[in-house]
């Protein structure tokens, strides 16, 4: 179903609800969350642990489905019942950066980046060009053949960023991307994300509870107990 959107909005949620059950307890991870992401935005989702940041990113990133509510991507409501469609949409529109880097240890930096293009049906040359360009962009053109264990934490996260941007996604979801990095390395990763945001106009949504990360974002969304309590334009 096509839904009319405000000009510039790429992703929107309406009344997102997600609850978990642990024994007799019901946890409201998301409680009627409405948000809008505009093209080219750098948004930080802030909040303490358990506030629902990761759940929000997972649902907006089509990794998880809501119990209630809608997600609208590029004007189209997402049908969460069709798993194959979700995979295709993620592949076409999104990039992901994880807290633990989540690289495949048996693959080199180059091969990890290339893996994101595995189902694109591209020829070898295009795959190679894009992968090399992405690694070049994150400053790792001299580490292409290195496996993750041969790279520092910061370099691994750069490979993860290269993997996220290799196919030119509309949005990058980064879930606590600097949580396992020292402050200097974390800053360099955030600089990298900001430069990608500025140069490629890629929308970036970062979840964090670190004020230094929030400082890099153009807008912050505060979550408490699954509800958006504040949205701040910087």
């Amino acid at each position: 179903m096509a839904v009319p959107l405000t000009r510039g909005i790429i992703l929107q949620s309406r009344n997102l609800v997600r609850t978990y059950h642990r024994g007799d307890d019901t946890i409201h991870a998301l409680d009627h969350v409405d948000i809008r992401l505009e093209r080219g935005e750098f948004v930080a989702v802030a909040g303490p642990s358990g506030s629902g940041k990761t759940t929000l990113l997972n649902i907006l990133g089509l990794l998880d489905s809501p119990d209630e509510g809608e997600v609208i991507l590029d004007g189209r409501e997402i049908d969460f019942t069709k798993n194959r469609n979700l995979t295709a949409l993620r592949r076409r529109h999104f990039g992901f950066v994880f807290q633990n880097f989540n690289l495949i240890p048996v693959l080199s930096a180059y091969e990890n980046v290339e893996m994101a293009l595995v189902a694109k049906g591209m020829d070898r040359k295009t795959i190679s060009e894009r992968s090399r360009r992405a690694l070049d962009l994150v400053g790792l053109s001299d580490r292409m053949g290195h496996r993750p264990r041969e790279l520092s934490g910061g370099q691994q996260q750069r490979v993860a960023v290269a993997r996220a941007i290799v196919d030119g996604p509309s949005i990058i979801f980064a879930d606590e991307p600097t949580a396992n990095l020292d402050s200097v390395t974390a800053a360099s990763i955030l600089e990298l994300l900001r430069s990608i945001n500025e140069s490629l106009q890629t929308t970036i949504m970062v979840s964090t509870h670190d004020p230094r990360v929030i400082a890099y974002a153009a807008r912050r969304l505060d979550l408490r107990d699954g509800r958006v309590i504040e949205g701040t334009e910087k």
């Binding site: 295709a88 993620r90 990039g95 893996m115 189902a119």
Partner: protein, 407 residues
């Protein structure tokens, strides 16, 4: 290609576990190949033993004479017909030689003991060429190649010699019904004691020269022409050729006349089927265990791949290739083990105890051939792939969030 490379590297992520799985599969493949090789060797030995202990490759007789009910009432082939058939057969390629036999039965007396016997008149020199290796004499000497009329000799089967109490050098008297209905008796000097390989036959059998048999029966008709070939595999081809040329006689290959051989083959095949299924189950469980462990360790990676848009099918394919690689390497290892094992066994020249219903040991041979190796390997690789498929499909369908949060 990408999935094969990834699968190969994943196999060696946990070297110890993979080597253990490959080792289990290798032992399984070696067991399959060696048991099959043992069976093939046994079949071959039994086949050649069956042929050499009297059946020959091809037998030719008068119509209906192969029916056990008329075995001793068979009028036989005339001397001229038998000669013509034998000459034609011996002119064919791969026919080593032909020989004639006469069947008879009657009573045999030694001292105060008289028992019934079944006998065969044979051409000693040719019979020795056919059965010299597989029907050894236990005492005395073989029948002489030529013997003077009236001084006939006999080979007495071991069981019958015990019943009579006769030994080489003794003279036994045989009494038979002649072809014209009269009775005839003949003294035969025991030249040797032999084993047929079949305890039941050993109790009743006497071999004598074809001349002695003709004199006893007062007839020169022939009951059987036996052909020996230089290649057992050509039996049917040559049998069909002779049958077409002489449609009024019965021509049978050794397989028609070796019921015991078929019983043993069937028994062994049934045993092998059960054994093979057990081995395949062990391989299946081994690979599935390896894959489940591997999938559990890599759950987060699976979640990551799914998150970045890698299709479920690709992920399942990688795991299936891992199973196939493990199965393939296990097959190579198993083939090597089987080759070394069979070479050692061949070098030791081990003799197996007699098969049920037989009294002669036979050599333990392990036959290995490429088609068997390929078939066993293909079965193992297929099972390994299938074993990897089920858990990998399940893993690829797991919730991405659960996979990413897996610790």
């Amino acid at each position: 290609m990408k999935s094969i490379v990834l699968a190969w590297r994943n196999v060696w992520r946990n070297t110890r576990r993979s080597i253990l799985s490959i080792g289990i599969i290798g032992v399984g493949v070696a067991a399959i190949l060696m048991v099959w090789g043992f069976m093939s060797g046994t079949f071959w030995g039994l086949r050649e033993l069956t042929i050499a202990t009297g059946v020959g490759h091809i037998q030719i007789g008068s119509p209906k004479s192969f029916d056990p009910a008329v075995y001793f009432d068979d009028p036989g082939l005339s001397k001229e017909t038998a000669g013509e058939i034998q000459a034609f057969a011996e002119a064919q390629d791969h026919v080593r030689f032909g020989m004639q036999r006469i069947n008879l039965e009657g009573l045999v007396t030694f001292g105060r003991t008289t028992v019934s016997f079944t006998g065969t008149g044979i051409e000693p020199a040719k019979e020795a060429r056919l059965s010299g290796v597989f029907a050894p004499l236990t005492e005395g000497e073989n029948l002489p190649i030529g013997e003077a009329e009236g001084k006939y000799k006999a080979l007495v089967a071991a069981g019958l010699s015990r019943s009579l109490g006769c030994h080489p050098g003794d003279t036994v008297t045989v009494l038979v019904n002649m072809s014209d209905g009269g009775l005839n008796a003949l003294d035969l000097q025991v030249s040797g004691i032999y084993q047929t390989g079949f305890p039941e036959t050993d109790k009743r059998n006497i071999l004598m020269s074809i001349g002695a048999a003709k004199e006893l029966l007062g007839s020169d008709r022939i009951n059987r022409i036996i052909l020996s070939l230089d290649r057992t595999e050509l039996t049917e081809e040559i049998r069909a050729l002779i049958a077409r040329r002489f449609p009024r006689v019965e021509v049978h290959g050794w397989e028609d006349l070796a019921a015991y051989y078929h019983q043993v083959v069937q028994l062994y095949r049934n045993m092998f089927t059960i054994f093979g299924i057990i081995i395949l189950i062990v391989v299946f469980l081994s690979v599935i265990n390896t894959m489940i462990m591997s999938i559990m360790e890599r759950t987060r990676e699976i979640g990551t791949l799914l998150a970045i848009g890698v299709p479920e099918r690709f992920i399942s394919t990688v795991f299936v290739f891992e199973g196939i690689i493990i199965g393939f390497l296990g097959s190579i290892l198993g083939t090597l083990i089987a080759l070394v094992g069979s070479s050692c066994i061949d070098a030791l020249a081990i003799q197996m105890p007699p098969a049920p219903g037989r009294s002669l040991p036979y050599p333990l041979n392990i036959f290995m051939d490429l088609p068997t190796v390929l078939a066993a390997s293909a079965a193992i690789i297929f099972i390994a792939g299938v074993a990897a498929l089920a858990p990998s499909v399940k893993a690829a369908r797991k919730s991405i969030v659960d996979s990413l949060n897996h610790t």
